[in-house]
């Protein structure tokens, strides 16, 4: 296992960070998050196509960079830090992962489009009241048409391509399907997301035309979820770090009682504890990214990363508000945007309690 970034990885990290800082500052995010697609398409193309980040861990034959999942996670960490609000996570990570896991020629033929940012995609895999496995999937396909409902679909309203997990009838097995964003029978409801920087949709499918890309099963689904957890954990570590940095910056300038609040033990100790939690989460997220091909360890590492990162980010965001005092509770102050991301990410893909339990089960206990 590698415990330090390589020179190339450090460079990747810094390049992405610089781009996001200069081109996607939070002021820009505030502007675009309320726009109709909810993001700035140009910036997304800059990142995905111009900077070549559209399919970092996708094989070169699909137009990807052929790097490892670690590099994808490095990019996500910076996006979490900057609260980047484009469809990178949904399209270039989740959808790309699903297509790679699908593994068929049919699924691969879509990859090039996503990797090159010709189209945005998302994946609809959660249903109301669903557990984190396939047993709760009610969406079903028969004769190339899907009926059912999907919830919590990232960027679902704006995506050009929608991947759907559904039960194939009459066989009863599961499949990965592709729908055009404008497919007949596909009804997209934008729902108001607590995380203002990540659009959510609920999809209703009524005899919606869909192309079956690949078989799907619990094994593939587990793999998909694990990779999603690892990606999200890295993104959350970036967010948590930003919250700590923001708290440090504010507490070094805010003066009360003739001293910076950062010189007070109460604030110092809060920050030291934030740091410890963040570094633990960073270790977990960093290492988990290296286990994506290790069947026996992957789920364990993914659950650890998700649990540690959720707790670290939620803690950091809450404490960042607290350290800012009243100003931290205002709409104008940016902290709440990360707090919203933290809260949303905390429960997405299962909360920490779920993942701690899952961790022990993955250990065989």
């Amino acid at each position: 296992m590698e415990f330090a970034l390589t020179a190339e990885q450090t460079q990747l990290r810094d390049t992405v960070a610089q781009f996001l800082e200069s081109r996607c500052p939070i002021s820009h995010t505030r502007e675009v998050m309320t726009s109709t697609p909810g993001y700035d398409k140009e910036r997304w193309v800059n990142l995905g196509r111009d900077m070549g980040l559209g399919g970092i861990h996708a094989p070169t034959e699909c137009g990807g960079a052929g790097l490892s999942y670690s590099e994808t996670c490095i990019v996500l960490e910076q996006m979490g830090n900057a609260l980047y609000c484009g469809p990178y996570f949904s399209s270039n990570v989740l959808a790309v992962n699903a297509l790679l896991i699908g593994g068929t020629t049919e699924s691969r033929q879509f990859l090039a489009d996503l990797v090159s940012c010709n189209r945005t995609a998302t994946i609809a895999f959660i249903e109301e009241d669903a557990l984190w496995n396939l047993s709760g999937v009610q969406c079903s396909e028969r004769d190339g048409r899907i009926n059912g409902e999907k919830s919590y679909v990232f960027n679902g309203s704006s995506a050009d391509l929608i991947l759907v997990i559904a039960r194939c009838q009459p066989e009863g097995i599961f499949g990965l399907f592709a729908l055009d964003g404008g497919a007949k029978g596909l009804h997209k409801d934008s729902v108001k997301s607590l995380d203002l920087t990540r659009q959510l949709a609920r999809l209703t499918l009524k005899n919606a035309d869909a192309l079956r890309l690949a078989d799907w099963n619990e094994h593939k689904h587990r793999q998909f979820l694990d990779l999603a957890c690892i990606a999200l954990a890295n993104e959350m570590v970036g967010g948590a770090q930003r919250m700590l940095d923001s708290a440090l910056e504010y507490s070094s300038t805010r003066v009360q009682f003739g001293r910076t609040i950062g010189s007070l033990q109460a604030i110092k100790h809060k920050c030291a504890e934030m740091l410890l939690k963040i570094e633990f989460a960073r270790s977990a997220a960093l290492c988990a990214a290296q286990f994506v091909r290790d069947e026996s360890e992957r789920s364990k590492m993914a659950s650890m990363a998700k649990a540690m990162a959720s707790d670290a980010f939620m803690n950091a965001a809450s404490e960042c508000i607290q350290i800012h005092g009243g100003i931290g509770f205002t709409w104008e102050n940016d902290t709440h945007l990360w707090y919203r991301r933290a809260k949303s990410s905390e429960v997405y893909l299962g909360d920490s309690n779920y993942h701690r339990e899952n961790y022990l089960q993955s250990l065989g206990l």
Binding site: F257, L264, A266
Partner: protein, 413 residues
């Protein structure tokens, strides 16, 4: 003439019998209250009161409640504005302001906090400078409830920069409806806008609107804050369960609606412990042993907090020395709210990702998730609260001060 409980009860009952009319006009009725002394019976006879000892006020209140008689205007900062002016104002100021505060005809706001002085309230840098027959005010205040409705504001401003910080402030009444005073709403992270920012640009205050001596502002502000705390304590648990019939109640309700609007999200801020069990049942997480631990922890904390408050009250009522239990309420509420937020998150699960009408409980859960962070900040952060408990209740040594000497030289924002 000595007040006794029996005499009080008899007199107020008689007076109410003769005067109370649920269909009177609100302002008219309250003017009657002010004239009679029954609106503020603890106040001096020559200032709208009856010189009644504090211990007998509950008797008056009971009699008012018995017939559902409306009292003086109490919403917003009125009571503590009036108490401050009674205590520190001169007769001319009392004459000009007290009546219309308590009839509700004029609305007041409190201008203490500033962007640069939050926990450190005495760090005020809004300046008032005397120019001829006026004071000229420049600076910025924040967290001002109802500033956009207010006719007058209680302003704490710095008038002397060459003395220690607590000695250089002066207390004023400022006319809010003047050029030079700009009010902007301040939107919170939960979407509500309960508070305002107030900008002063060469705003003008006549000389006779200074309250108490120049440099005495901190002492006057302490009076205001003391009455604010008292009112907050007294308010807890006071509300009419249902509105009786009569036109006066409608007028009263209108008044309340406007001024209590800023507080509509306050129950969410407290984490809505009352919903926790039902939510666990509704989300089918009540059989999850881990959720059960968190839920039990929440319910226990909540129950213990309530009992701790009742212990404080019982000790007060028995005339026993105030124990530590009386100072823990604010900190306790903050911890309970955070635990409630945790319970709402783990019971609601994925639904916590939503906000607005389609979200769980029509967005109520989201509002809880976005409001609870305020409770450990507003009205004194948890950290300040712990300092107070440590120093005042537990008697621990104070932190050495670094803000002594002339305020001009004190490090500030």
């Amino acid at each position: 003439m000595q007040w006794t409980e029996a005499r009080v009860r008899q007199e107020v009952r008689t007076w109410l019998g003769e005067n109370w009319d649920p269909n009177a006009r609100l302002i008219e009725w309250r003017n009657k209250l002010m004239d009679s002394g029954w609106g503020m019976p603890a106040w001096p006879t020559h200032w709208f009161g009856k010189d009644m000892p504090d211990g007998l006020i509950p008797t008056v209140q009971e009699e008012f409640a018995r017939v559902n008689a409306v009292g003086v205007a109490r919403t917003g900062i009125r009571l503590w504005a009036a108490e401050t002016l009674l205590a520190h104002g001169n007769d001319e100021q009392r004459e000009r302001f007290l009546r219309k505060i308590l009839t509700g005809e004029e609305i007041w706001c409190q201008l203490f906090s500033e962007p640069g002085s939050g926990s450190d309230l005495a760090g005020v840098t809004t300046r008032a400078e005397r120019k001829g027959q006026e004071w000229i005010v420049n600076g910025q205040k924040v967290w001002t409830t109802s500033a956009h409705h207010a006719d007058y504001g209680l302003l704490l401003a710095r008038t002397n920069w060459d003395v220690p910080k607590h000695q250089g402030m002066t207390y004023f009444v400022v006319d809010m409806k003047q050029e030079g005073v700009e009010v902007r709403p301040l939107k919170q992270m939960n979407g509500h806008a309960s508070f305002n920012q107030v900008f002063f640009t060469d705003a003008r205050i006549p000389l006779n609107n200074r309250i108490d001596e120049e440099g005495n502002g901190w002492r006057v502000a302490m009076t205001t804050l003391m009455h604010e705390r008292r009112a907050a304590n007294a308010l807890a648990g006071q509300s009419r369960s249902k509105t009786p019939e009569g036109t006066i109640y409608e007028e009263e309700r209108c008044e309340n609606t406007v001024l209590s609007e800023p507080y509509t999200w306050y129950p969410q801020r407290a984490g809505r412990v009352d919903l926790a069990i039902d939510r666990a049942a509704a989300t089918k997480t009540l059989d999850n042993p881990v959720v059960r631990q968190e839920l039990a922890q929440l319910l226990m904390m909540s129950q213990c907090s309530e009992w701790t408050a009742l212990r404080a009250r019982a000790a007060r009522e028995k005339g026993q020395p105030q124990g530590p239990e009386g100072s823990l309420g604010k900190l306790a509420n903050s911890y309970i709210a955070r635990q409630a937020l945790r319970v709402h998150t783990i019971t609601t699960g994925l639904g916590s990702m939503l906000e607005g009408e389609d979200a769980p409980m029509e967005g109520l859960i989201a509002e809880i998730l976005l409001s609870v962070p305020a409770i450990s900040i507003a009205g004194g952060t948890d950290e300040i609260q712990k300092n107070i408990i440590a120093e005042r209740v537990l008697g621990m040594e104070k932190e050495p001060r670094l803000d002594g000497g002339p305020f001009r030289e004190v490090r500030k924002n």
